[in-house]
Symmetry: C2
Subunit: 456 residues, 2 copies
């Protein structure tokens, strides 16, 4: 009974949060670029001047987390005091400030008939819900992105970062209020039970973006009707083709696997062309071994290992495992088609690379590998919003719809069709008395979309 009562209270309070977010989102869509950048500027200043309090809250979170024996990587992500971290959090706000306003862009403009003009204009999704663990800097980054894209956001942070998140979100909400933006554009909820309630609120929340462990992402995907943008797994592969340049092959395999193995764009599988087993493969294997990589080899590649280099026998599940450490699964393939088939049936649709000097093989790989990123002679580690030049990253999506791959501000938008008429009715067109012209027009014709941004 007590538990039930508790759950009901959680549900009620989470629903209230979502209703407030929706209301804030509906009015926030009309705010000008100037206003949004002002909010970001004040936010930066307030966070800077509250640095001591924020770091103090962070120390208290850290102490509590250590007491509870939180894993080291989570502790690391929680800690804001390490060198440069607070500064880069603040720089992140400036970066978002400097991005072009993505709202109000005209992506289609057609004169349907005289005086009847159709425009497709980008607009915010509405209400975002971000579910993240540890890393309180994510609260700031995501809030900045939400503000810039005129979305409201519900931040569901982890309990381990509650004090830090609260201190940061207090600054953010103060900043919004001080420039007359509804504070409910950014709201924070923190308890574990709230996730389930949030995931049921599809009438108020337009998108869920998980930033956390695979198991968290999978739980979310399985428990909501709300579109989820993100990825559970990053099982990236490098295929070294028979016409690969040896130097490039060694460099790319090594970088893709070892440059930072704990992230989704690190490579987990090496596919090696059979013809390269006697010559190129031993050099790759030596290099991997030298860097402490544990290799899980199929029978053929195992036999081709150079003397003194050992490996484990690969099991079928190794080819669908995201190791996230210095382990790589290795498989021998007969040609590019076999490599493509392996990737399409074992990969996660994240990012896959072909190393080859053969353009035909490259083009086939590019056409047929069904992944968000297809790479030629480049490390899979390039799959990242900042490296792609988006200036900010919402996350990496392995979804097939809406937004795929590294997602910047664009992924937080959709569009509206605006039709400007002058009393136009459909009847005369249906009767054939009048005809639609469908003439493409210059979008600039409709002056000043800012006019519709009502709050200066």
């Amino acid at each position: 009974m007590a538990t039930n009562h508790h759950y009901n209270k959680v549900e009620a309070s989470v629903e209230a949060v979502a209703i407030k977010a929706r209301k804030a989102a509906l009015s926030f869509q009309s705010y000008s670029t100037k206003k949004k950048n002002e909010a970001l500027q004040v936010m930066k200043e307030k966070i800077l001047s509250a640095k001591d309090q924020i770091l103090e809250a962070n120390q208290r979170d850290l102490a509590a987390a250590q007491e509870q024996n939180l894993e080291t990587p989570l502790l690391k992500r929680l800690d804001l005091s390490s060198s440069g971290k607070f500064e880069s959090l603040v720089q992140g706000i400036t970066a978002v400030q400097n991005l072009e306003d993505p709202v109000g862009k005209v992506t289609l403009a057609t004169e349907l008939d005289q005086g009847l003009e159709l425009y497709r204009v980008s607009c915010p999704l509405g209400v975002l819900c971000i579910i993240f663990e540890s890393r309180p800097d994510a609260a700031v980054q995501i809030s900045s992105l939400a503000i810039k894209s005129s979305n409201a956001v519900i931040l569901k942070g982890g309990k381990e970062a509650e004090r830090t998140n609260r201190a940061l979100v207090d600054c953010i909400r103060d900043s919004l209020e001080s420039v007359n933006v509804p504070a409910d554009v950014v709201q924070l909820v923190s308890t574990r039970e709230e996730i389930k309630s949030l995931l049921a609120l599809e009438q108020y929340i337009d998108m869920v973006i998980p930033r956390g462990s695979n198991s968290l992402v999978r739980y979310i995907k399985e428990n909501t009707k709300i579109p989820v943008m993100g990825h559970a797994d990053g099982i990236c592969a490098v295929y070294v083709d028979k016409n690969a340049d040896e130097r490039k092959a060694i460099d790319i395999v090594l970088d893709s696997k070892t440059q930072y193995p704990a992230v989704c764009n690190a490579t987990e599988t090496l596919l090696i062309h059979r013809q390269l087993l006697p010559n190129v493969f031993p050099k790759i294997a030596s290099k991997l071994s030298e860097h402490g990589v544990i290799m899980k080899c199929d029978q053929e590649s195992m036999k081709a290992l150079p003397n003194g280099i050992s490996a484990e026998a690969a099991e079928e599940t190794d080819y669908t495992t995201e190791f996230l450490n210095f382990t790589i699964a290795i498989k021998t393939v007969g040609d590019v088609k076999e490599a493509i088939e392996h990737i399409n049936s074992h990969g996660s649709g994240h990012t896959d690379c072909i190393v080859t000097e053969d353009e035909v093989a490259r083009d086939l790989f590019f056409a047929l590998v069904d992944s968000a990123g297809v790479y030629h002679n480049a490390s899979t580690r390039f799959a990242d919003g900042f490296r792609y030049g988006f200036g900010a990253e919402v996350g990496v999506s392995t979804n097939k719809i809406h937004a795929r791959g590294p997602v910047g501000l664009e992924g937080l938008l959709i569009y509206k069709y605006r039709l400007y008429g002058n009393g136009h009715t459909v009847a005369p067109y249906a009767k054939g008395e009048k005809h639609l012209t469908h003439k493409t027009i210059v979008p600039q014709y409709r002056p000043n979309w800012e006019k519709t941004q009502t709050n200066e």
Copy 2:
């Protein structure tokens, strides 16, 4: 036991269909524009030359449906023999043939560094599943769209149209085979039980597109993890502002409600500014009454009805009802903000119109109404892919993500990021030895995307 056995068989066979679709989709993405148009051309010819057999199959479906007392609208949609219907089905194929190939378009091109080039290129979603009732012409239309966009499609037709759909799909599959496109790009399944099994196959199916009754759409949305593109309701509103032109108001309300009330873009709600109750509203009401429209009025508008014109008292649920007939719910509002609030809380996000000569009111309405279509002085009936100039329509989406409003070929696509390198690794950039340049480049630089279309 018998039932279980039967279900298991259905599931197995539906899964086999989906696996075949996925396989066909993966190879089909590389086919050239020329090849796809050839397939469409042969398809048109085969359907034309099989006209007699198709119409005969259709007559048998019709006879069976009449025996089972199918509702008249469904019978109408099933019947291919009515004047011009077969011809427009065939013309639909030509229309799709004439559309530009949407696959392979470059929507972003950035030089990340010397010799390291990033391209975002449109590509098919993969496997579509269309669930439709009656209208066998939809089978042809959707197959054409799928072929043009390089997607595979599973057509789940209604049992009432089984013979007709089978005759049409046989022609389509023959056509594909005759030009060496895998026939499994188009597959048909027909029994009711198969819907549930299909909706569970998220590992093979990328998008479900329902074309049918609200209850069918709602059932599908509630029973699948696969993204569903479509709309359950079309609750469109016309708001007549205090600064409306009387003539335009009368014309637009009448056309939006009566020009074809059985469809999703017909208007269901009239919001009338209080100041217009004494003068403009009685004229609108008379006109609606003259055309046989049943009005459901709030108290204020009820009192303002002219002599001799009667109406029913509106209940709250009338403002969230899709009547799809000659009925309209009428409500008095105090200003444009109240109208916006009503629409955002009662509408379905489909298409809503403001009638006004006041640009400030229009711009506020355009900025704050959260619908796929926001219209100024134009009938909501314009919300349609053909009227928008898309040449073909997949459906109308009230989703907030991926595609919104009338959806043409573009809605069946996503994109891949292609990265062309020359042995590039991330390490030197991470160490600060090298720097990314992020220079926008002219997409045309990469010659001939057709080169990656491997099957001529």
